[in-house]
């Protein structure tokens, strides 16, 4: 009865972050993880995820540029996109009404249940 898991592409250069997400939300979603921000666009085009979670502060290429690249590409433009970042705390995200740098934002320190709730809203 349960539908197929939604696919989420996560871009973060820190493997600990990916490991955490795998443990905390991996049982709910089909996670595609990459620590190579430069390959993110190719990944997204190939995997056709339902949501993209992207870190902001990464070496070589930052989240803002990745976001712009996704917006430029016709295959990825319509995929929901959110920053998953340590720049802001969960309360700051709440104050910003979930808007970080013009896109959706999730604080890395967000408790897992709340994170899942936000992801579900983004997937809707």
């Amino acid at each position: 009865m349960k539908s197929v898991k939604k696919k989420i592409l996560v871009i973060d250069d820190d493997e600990a972050v990916l490991g955490y997400l795998q443990k905390k939300i991996g049982y709910l979603y089909d996670l595609v993880l990459t620590t190579e921000p430069g390959l993110a666009l190719d990944f997204a085009v190939r995997e056709e995820p339902d949501l993209i979670l992207c870190d902001i502060d990464m070496p070589d290429i930052d989240g803002g540029e990745i976001s712009r690249n996704f917006l430029k590409c016709e295959f990825t433009r319509s995929i929901p996109f959110a920053y998953l970042t340590g720049f802001v705390s969960p309360s700051e995200v709440r104050e910003l009404r979930g808007n970080v740098g013009g896109r959706h934002g999730i604080a890395k320190a967000t408790p897992a249940p709340e994170m899942i709730q936000t992801i579900e809203q983004l997937l809707r």
């Binding site: 250069d13 820190d14 493997e15 600990a16 972050v17 490991g19 955490y20 443990k23 905390k24 870190d55 502060d57 070496p59 970042t85 340590g86 720049f87 705390s89 969960p90 309360s91 604080a107 890395k108 320190a109 408790p111 897992a112 249940p113 709340e114």
Partner: protein, 767 residues
């Protein structure tokens, strides 16, 4: 006008006119062809006949002319010539004898007006079919005596031929008319008309109403008759196919309507179910919060009243009654909620050392009166003074109470209920009575709502007993027969090797002692709860001095209290008006981080004691989750392990050597690897700091902030956040000290799995 044209066009395109036109046209062509052939043949024959007639004329006169030429008798010759000229086809005749002309005569004609002309015409006529007959001597046929020259009259011959051709043409034409007309009529009547009739009939026929073609009269056995039969058969098959398809469509439509109706019913049921679930959740909420909170207050009152002066025996009995009743109701509420969770598979089993023998004795004591009234004796055999199982006390108590009560009720009067306990690979407890389980319920003994012969039986007792046994990784089985009676066998896990029962689980709560109070450091406590009774009880629990207790009625008041002065420990209710516990926690953490205060130990103090609530509390950033009701002992034990701290310092907050980070069970195994990778990053921070690469310090600190925040290392995340924020402005010494603090914190931090926390006392005893 146009309709007239249309009629003409449609008429012309009809079968009959077309056929008539085609056959008529073919008849005309064939007639013309046959007439021309006949005319040519007739002309040739007529010309041949004329030549033959003229030859016969010459034959007739030859004997007479022979004599006339032999005697050269002009008169006879003239007479012969005249006679020959009576034939209309003869234009002129000359008879010569020995190069002397005996007689010659020409019919007057438009082409010969004088002799010369006649002659020349003769000459001309000779070229045009003149006949010359040699005349032999009557006595010697070899001797020629003269000749007859005959010029035929071409006009007369032509006229004759034309007459003949005209006659034959007329005859043939008439014959063609008769034959062609007959043929046409035959085709039209026998072939075309029946087809036309069938076509018209077919055009008007409604096959679905059962109409069929009938063959035209006299055509029953012809191809047309067979065609009609074939068409009728085809029509029948088509109608049957259409009927079949229509029937199927109708059935499909009906099926669809049925499915739609069922879907609507299902929707209605779903809505009802959703409402039921809502009601259930509401009831659960009431049970948990609204029922448990006041009950825990009631249960705590006797312990408080016992303090101070001595009570009389009667007063003590009343206090015990209040205490026991409140605790029993609390247990029932908790157990009913737990059963629900067990059924949902959401129950988290948290085993401890439980002395099963002590429990059996306690239950037996409770049942003593009932057993006596039924004249049933309870005997316990084959057990050591203590037998520990790895289980939950409340669940074991519940199972035993249920099974033993059943056994006492089912045992015949003046018989015995035997209990035996054997320790082995599993601890095996069997309860036997001489009664047999009635046949109708044997197969469904452990099923939900299966009951027999009890007016107030819910059918949940044995069901929940087995459920609880299984949740504890044990099993509950039953054997029964009329001869042997009934034996229930409960198997439970023994205590794992190496585990030592730290404390005997007692039936009542541990009574606070003066010694435990003296071990309490001087702490500033903030109690946050919207229930004044709860606050009162808690206040009475907390000895002051050494504790300094302040209260707040909701989250906002709590934040204000923290703003005024930093408490060492905060007991925070979760569900409160104005601002709830989680939000207040965030505010307080932010406030203290901003001020550089050491974070207070914030304990979620809630009536919710399920796993999801614990998980939520720890994930939200609470240091601990303590469920209401908690005994004074538990609370004081918690405080005994907390160090007092001077807040507001200018020096860097150093991580307490014994800081504990509570992580979710699922993350626990990943923690060593995580900490190792973080230490590597911290080493990189130090390197970058040494080389003066502040941007690298920022990047690494940022990375650490995010990951520490995620894994619940709040303090570490806080230090890294400060590093990140001040990477450019702060002096290198300060930054280095921050890194030192972080390293120290990571070295000393104790990581605990959150599932180990149910009562704090357990944790403290083990820790």
């Amino acid at each position: 006008m146009s309709s007239k044209k249309h009629f003409v066009r449609s008429f012309c395109s009809g079968l009959i006119p077309k056929t008539a036109f085609t056959i008529g046209w073919m008849a005309v062509v064939a007639g013309v062809l046959s007439l021309s052939v006949t005319a040519a043949v007739t002309r040739d024959r007529a010309e041949a006949n004329s030549a033959r007639e003229l030859g016969e004329l010459l034959d007739t006169v030859e004997s007479t002319v022979r004599i006339a030429c032999f005697v050269e008798d002009q008169t006879l010759a003239t007479e012969v010539v005249r006679g020959m000229l009576k034939n209309s086809k003869v234009l002129g005749v000359a008879i010569r004898a020995n190069n002397r002309e005996l007689a010659r005569s020409y019919r007057a004609s438009p082409g010969a007006t004088d002799d010369i002309a006649e002659f020349s015409g003769l000459v001309k006529g000779g070229a045009n079919g003149r006949l010359t007959r040699r005349v032999a001597s009557p006595f010697n046929p070899e001797q020629t005596v003269g000749e007859i020259v005959l010029d035929p009259d071409p006009a007369a011959i032509s006229q004759r031929v034309a007459d003949d051709v005209k006659f034959v043409g007329l005859l043939l034409g008439a014959q063609w008319l008769v034959i062609g007309g007959g043929l046409l009529a035959l085709v039209l009547f026998n072939v075309v008309r029946p087809i036309k009739i069938i076509s018209d009939h077919l055009h008007r026929m409604d096959a679905e109403l059962g109409e069929r073609l009938s063959p035209p009269a006299g055509q029953d056995r012809t191809e047309i008759g067979r065609l009609v039969a074939d068409i009728n058969a085809l029509a029948s098959r088509l109608v049957a196919a259409i009927d079949h398809a229509t029937e199927q469509t109708r059935q499909l439509q009906e099926a669809k309507e049925r499915v739609d109706a069922q879907a609507r019913q299902l929707e209605v049921k779903n809505a009802a179910l959703a409402r039921a679930v809502q009601v259930q959740e509401e009831v659960e909420r009431i049970a948990r919060h609204d029922l448990k909170t006041p009950l825990s207050s009631i249960a705590a009152v006797p312990a408080l009243l016992r303090r101070g002066r001595r009570r009389s025996e009667e007063e003590e009995a009343l206090l015990s009654m209040i205490e026991n009743s409140a605790k029993r109701v609390l247990r029932m509420v908790s157990l009913s909620l737990d059963l629900f969770r067990m059924e949902e598979g959401a129950y988290a089993f948290q085993p401890k050392a439980v002395d099963i023998v002590a429990l059996v004795l306690a239950v037996t004591r409770d049942l003593a009166n009932e057993a006596q009234s039924r004249a049933v004796d309870i005997r316990i055999s084959g057990h050591a003074p203590q037998t520990f199982v790895h289980a939950e006390e409340i669940l074991c108590y519940s199972i035993l109470a249920n099974l033993l009560k059943n056994a006492v009720e089912a045992a015949p009067e003046r018989t015995m209920v035997r209990i035996s306990i054997e320790a082995g690979e599993l601890v095996r407890l069997s309860i036997h009575n001489d009664g047999a389980v009635p046949l109708p319920v044997r197969a469904s003994f452990f099923e939900k709502y299966a009951t027999h012969g009890k007016s107030q039986g819910t059918g949940l007792g044995t069901y929940s007993a087995r459920l609880m046994a299984r949740v504890q990784h044990g099993e509950l089985t039953m054997e029964t027969s009329e001869m042997a009676g009934t034996t229930l066998v409960l198997e439970l896990l023994p205590l794992p090797e190496g585990a030592v029962p730290s404390e005997l689980p007692g039936a009542g709560s541990s009574v606070p002692t003066a010694s435990s109070a003296t071990a309490i450091p001087a702490l500033r406590i903030l109690l946050v709860d919207d229930d004044p009774d709860n606050t009162l009880i808690m206040k009475l629990f907390l000895p002051s001095p050494p504790l300094e207790v302040e209260t707040a009625g909701n989250g906002r008041d709590a934040v204000e209290a923290c703003r005024r002065r930093r408490p060492d420990v905060i007991f925070m209710d979760l569900e409160m008006p104005v601002m709830d516990g989680c939000e207040a926690l965030q505010w307080i953490r932010a406030l203290q981080a901003e001020r550089g205060d050491a974070p207070s130990k914030i304990v979620a103090f809630s009536a919710h004691d399920d796993e999801a609530s614990r998980r939520r509390s720890v994930a939200a950033g609470f240091d601990l989750h303590l469920s209401k009701p908690s005994s004074q002992g538990e609370i004081l034990a918690l405080l005994a392990g907390t160090k007092a701290r001077c807040g507001n310092t200018d020096v860097l907050p150093e991580a307490a050597p014994t800081t504990t980070v509570w992580v979710d069970e699922d993350l626990f195994e990943a923690i060593p690897g995580f900490l190792e990778s973080r230490r590597t990053l911290v080493a990189l921070v130090r390197q970058s700091l040494a080389s003066g690469n502040r941007e690298s310090v920022r990047q690494l600190a940022h990375k650490l902030t995010g990951s520490f925040g995620m894994y619940g290392f709040v303090r570490a995340a806080q230090i890294c956040r400060e590093l990140e924020d001040k990477h450019r402005s702060a002096d290198p010494g300060w930054l280095a000290r921050q890194v030192d603090a972080l390293e120290r914190h990571l070295t000393h931090v104790a990581v605990r799995s959150r599932t180990g926390v149910r009562g704090v006392s357990t944790d403290n005893n083990r820790g």
